[in-house]
Amino acid sequence: MEILVYGTINSVSLALMGLGFAMVYGISRVPNFAHGALYIICGFVTWTILQKLGLPYVVAIFLSLAVNGILGILMYRFILIRVRGMNISEIISSYAIGLAILEGLRYGGFRGMTYTLPVFMEGMVFIGGVPVDYHRIIMVIVGILLVGGLWLFTHYTRLGLALQGMAQDERAALMLGIDSDFMAMLAMGFGAVLAGVAATMILPLGNIVVESGYHVLIMSIAVCIVGGLGSWIGAFFAAFIIGFAQILTVVFIGSHFQMVVALLAIILTLILKPSGLFGQQKELEDRV
């Protein structure tokens, strides 16, 4: 039961981390290596608004999500737009942006154990005899709502359908009047907001430290590779596989092997089925 409950929680948090990365890659084919940095920056922005400006928590969250979205859009508009389509340059420039943000934050004094966000709701319940705090339950609910919402969005709205079309064949979408640069910019904004959502859900459970930016990046890449790059549904399922594998490892082997699971999953996937669970073979060549 413990495994089931904590496996689910862990999986949902992995899915939250990976969704933004998967979405951006799926739509614009830009591997956003600044994803982890966007995640962390959202945490710090929320903290700053909450602690320095003294605004209510909810306002702080929505403000920082907006900041994140704008940041993503700016990043695309001024930097990535010039290198889109050139895989190596995309990786280098997005990783450079990520590094600059993360190390800039570290340099700016955002380090140590002093940065924490409050949980949404104190207290806990017992699910099948396992103690679970309310915040983690909220996280699971938000994660599942988010995936459901994304599914509805991409299948039933005009914008979502256009993004779906562009993800499959950018040029064909262009022939129908779907401006690919504009859509890629939107996708980047969405991805950044999703990174922010992940941050607001996960960060209150621990300290905000710069290092977790790298952790989030690795986890989202793992989730996306196992799920098949570009398929956010695949990423969601892969999050469950890796999430449960991690918890099983913690329970039966030892908690310091937890990180190895994700890396092992990447390697195994690349050996056994390079296109991932839901990816397509044709994407093999643009694998990172």
């Binding site: 005009r158 359908l161 079309g165 040029r171 064909a172 022939m175 129908l176 009047g177 690919s180």
Partner: protein
């Protein structure tokens, strides 16, 4: 309506389109015929602006240098440097070679993605129209586009292009690889589009025979140049055309 003058396209130093001037008037069906590599697709890409996107991508990847020269006007406005998405918005919609459907989406989703530029009312109206034009699609709205037969896919592709509210529809080899029966069905549909709306159509095809009966005017391309042009009647009577494109002597 759409007028290209002295259009030239180079891939590096290779001349893909050589001084082509073509025009399509309101509600006309114009045929563009020619063998493989005669420049049909290059022409279609140039008219729809996709060539600008190809040029941009090639330039970024350090690939072929593509040069475009000439004039292109649509409804009296110069569109030579207009982005492809803006051209689609203005009403030039390309239904590309090999259809390029969104294979992982259902037929209905393909059509609705096509309706990106349309208002809700327009989209509803166009959807009804597509369904009456191609009744066969009514039963397969939920199926994935990638699993349809070639003819069905082509119906979806034309339907998708119609959803984008075209003023001029560019059909690039719509009959490629289809059975004669399916070809006849599609050609009838194309004719119907012309009759029932004020859309102009440019259709390119390798074999003139199935398309010829519905065109008002046609161009024959060879090695990137328009070697012959004329109304259907003029070309029908031309002995060279007969032997080269109809297999008659």
């Amino acid at each position: 309506m759409l007028e290209a003058t002295d259009l030239m396209v180079f891939y590096e130093n290779m001349l893909a389109l050589n001084n082509i001037s073509i025009s399509c008037r309101d509600n006309q069906i114009v045929g563009v015929f020619g063998a493989n590599s005669a420049g049909k697709s290059t022409l279609m890409y140039s008219l729809s602006g996709i060539m600008l996107d190809i040029r941009k991508k090639e330039k970024m990847a350090g690939g072929e240098r593509i040069t475009l020269t000439g004039q292109l006007t649509f409804q009296g406005k110069d569109i030579m440097d207009m982005k492809p998405s803006d051209r689609a918005r203005a009403g030039i919609v390309l239904c590309p070679e090999r259809r390029r459907l969104f294979k992982e989406s259902s037929v209905m989703e393909n059509l609705r993605i096509g309706g990106y530029l349309a208002t809700k009312a327009q989209a509803r109206e166009s959807l009804d129209y597509v369904m009456t034009l191609f009744p066969a699609l009514q039963k397969m709205t939920k199926r994935l586009a990638g699993f349809l037969s070639g003819g069905e896919q082509q119906m979806v592709a034309i339907g998708r292009a119609l959803m984008a509210q075209p003023k001029i529809l560019l059909l690039d080899e719509p009959l490629m690889g289809l059975s004669p029966l399916m070809q006849a069905t599609l050609i009838r549909a194309v004719k119907k589009i012309q009759e029932q709306s004020d859309i102009s159509i440019i259709v390119s095809e390798q074999y003139a025979r199935p398309v010829f009966p519905i065109v008002d005017y046609a161009y024959i391309l060879e090695n990137g140049a328009a070697v012959m042009e004329g109304t259907r009647e003029e070309l029908m009577d031309n002995p060279d055309v007969k032997s080269a494109y109809f297999g008659m002597s």
